[in-house]
Symmetry: C2
């Protein structure tokens, strides 16, 4: 029979068991933290109607959509988890309780040209708190607290949540009379870290700004220091613009409340250059970066928006949220060697009978599982050496060897695969030792 | 602005938070049991190359595939989790350790006409043990043990794992000289429960079988009683056919080993009418049914196959596995009222400050989370009554009320929402009481 070549598309992350177990560990920490903060799970269809996906989308992203027909239906795969959330909130607003706190960890799809570090299928881990008509600022602080907790638990070294408020930069630019170019200017500021100050300045001048104006903007977004110092510097500028001052006031409140939620000052840093390209952010904006040179760019971004579902509903649903690009983060961690997969099995112990499948071996496996010990039974009638090679390959931490002697004594020879130590022990003892 | 109607396709299960929490509970029990038995997680792309999906597929299923082009690539959404497993095993056989034990819980897609109880997007929860060249029969018993453990833990009442071996029926039909019609006859037997004996008999006669032959087959597949009795009845038939006798021997071994793994006799029942339409099963076959009239049909089916990846590799990969149709099962449980969603939040306690967002309230929420109590903070500046209405709506079990008095005493008024009882208690006490 002619064989079909077994392969998958470029840009799709598919993992071997050990890497998959590691990926799931991180995914699970994120999920547990979301739930610890009272976010409810959401699981929307991967397929959305095309008109929903295309309700508000840039031309570049539009090209990337996996779009197809089934019968008369014009469909596509979701390209993020925000559009499905907006559609969901508009669709079920009468059944939901607001503020609606939800998380979704799921795959999204963008059929872009494959390149290193870019994925066509990727996990996003999103949380949002959505109000009906209004939503208090304490939610902005809580989102920062969740992000802080997650990156503490992930143990990927030091990190910083960069925070700002779009109104500050917006008001500053308004005051400068750069009124109708604000979106373009914000886009340049967003790229500053990538392109550098020189190029950034030229890009601003290309937008029609004067040399002095460009300098003023660049100086403004580089205001640094701890929160106290930033607020002092901003205060000294004496800017009277209403939008600006409301942004400063909000940012002050959010950072103070975040600290009260337990976010350490060193993990939360005001950065006025955080603009987040998407024009739908209207207040608080966040970016999280890891403080090492192995993982580049923002690993978690988001912010406050005035109206989540404006394309689907005439009601107003303000909200605040963030998204973790899990697939991209994991792939960078793995490729840079920052994390390493160790074991290819969730089992804590492998039961290895000298004689294949003795009744006693089956009983031992059954009992260990009842006691809550994740257990695998070596099922094949192979040489003993091959069985131990298998144990080493899957990286199981313990092996419970069962020979005639062990069987007659109703014990097992428990071998710690890391130390090589071996003890004769009863089944109860195995559970105690391993759990 | 013109609004897009927020809706999704028929045949896609989308849940409100309380139902989603319940769904996730069941999904999680299945996942945990798979891991307890040492199955490693797998997460293949939702999109496969069309030639992989179409390597071996019936015409009916082919029409149901969501198939599309992206650039020059001919693609489709997976319609089950077995084809991706076969492709994966062939693709990574050099990196995998055999026997390869994996589970995958993921969505599959079939764009069939929507009808009650049928889904176009549905979760399957699959386990398989795949050998390289050979795989011992103890694995067939272990699969039954996993299924038994899962349905015990799901607590959906009594259930039966019906088990047989395709060789028994195959050998019996061979012996009867129904040689070249075996697949057609098996398909009729598969439908017997649906169509009834009368119609089934007519269908057999329509295939060209004699009246007496049809009767003989119907009598054979209705052999009943406990395992001991079934084996006695089969033995008395004195059939010399080799395939038949090897099937009987395998079935005997598998049922005996399953019992040793801890599967109670009442949960494992030999049923010679289990044929499982798919011709790729070659030995053990299983179907699981719930013993109540609310959930119809098989909730978990599978079996042993000689060669998983024959379309992708010239190596032989025999295996055994089962699949749980989770979306269909859950939808039947929910619609029949057998299960009921209770709470729309993973939080165990809602912190309700009388004055919105007092520092103390933020601290309490933060401390409870550090102690591992899933906690939500009521963030809006609403009337107290509205806050309690919210607590009732989301179904949170406890509310921690914080007024002036509680704040000055550094305590909270903890209200049990089920009993209405309220106690003044410190934050540590809350954690002790709830965890």
């Amino acid at each position: 029979m002619a064989k079909v070549t077994p392969k998958i598309q470029a840009g799709f992350m598919e993992l071997l068991p050990a890497e998959q177990i590691l990926f799931n560990k991180y995914k699970n920490i994120i999920k547990e933290t979301f739930e610890e903060y009272g976010f409810a799970p959401q699981d929307t269809p991967t397929i959305e109607n095309a008109d929903v996906l295309f309700a508000q989308i840039g031309e570049d992203t539009k090209k990337e959509i996996y779009r197809f027909k089934k019968g008369d239906d014009d469909l596509g795969l979701r390209f993020d988890l925000t559009v499905p959330l907006a559609r969901y909130v508009a669709m079920y607003s009468n059944s939901l309780t607001f503020p609606f706190r939800r998380y979704q960890i799921g795959k999204a799809y963008r059929g872009e040209r494959p390149q290193k570090g870019r994925f066509r299928e990727f996990y996003q881990a999103d949380i949002d708190i959505v109000g009906n008509g209004s939503l208090s600022l304490v939610n902005d602080a809580e989102i920062a607290a969740v992000v802080n907790k997650i990156f503490e638990k992930l143990e990927l070294g030091d990190f910083v949540i960069k925070i700002s408020n779009r109104k500050i930069l917006g008001g500053f630019l308004e005051e400068m009379n750069s009124g109708n170019k604000i979106d373009e200017i914000l886009r340049v500021i967003d790229k500053l870290e990538k392109v550098g100050k020189e190029t950034g300045k030229q890009m601003l001048i290309d937008l029609g700004l004067k040399n002095t104006e460009a300098d003023k903007i660049l100086e403004f977004v580089s205001i640094g220091g701890d929160s106290k110092k930033v607020f002092e510097t901003l205060d000294k500028k004496g800017i009277k613009n209403e939008l600006f001052n409301s942004g400063v006031k909000e940012l002050l409140e959010v950072t103070e409340m975040a600290n009260k939620f337990g976010v350490p000052e060193k993990n939360l840093q005001i950065d006025l250059s955080i603009a987040r390209g998407l024009s739908y952010y209207t207040g608080t904006v966040y970016e999280t970066i890891l403080l090492n040179d192995r993982v580049k760019g923002s690993v978690c971004g988001g912010g406050r928006y005035d109206n989540l579902a404006e394309n689907f509903s005439s009601q107003s649903f303000p909200g605040v949220g963030v998204s973790i690009g899990l697939t991209r983060l994991f792939s960078q961690l793995l490729e840079s060697g920052m994390i390493k997969a160790k074991t290819a099995t969730p089992a804590k112990v492998l039961v290895v009978p000298m004689v294949a499948n003795s009744n006693y071996a089956l009983e031992v496996a059954g009992k260990l599982r009842v006691m809550g010990v994740a257990t695998e039974l070596y099922t094949e009638d192979d040489k003993f050496k091959k069985k131990l090679v298998y144990a080493n390959k899957i990286g199981v931490p313990f092996v419970a060897i069962i020979g005639e002697d062990e069987e007659s004594k109703k014990k097992v020879a428990l071998k710690n695969m890391a130390t090589g130590e071996q003890v004769l022990i009863g089944v109860d003892g195995v559970a105690k030792l391993i759990l």
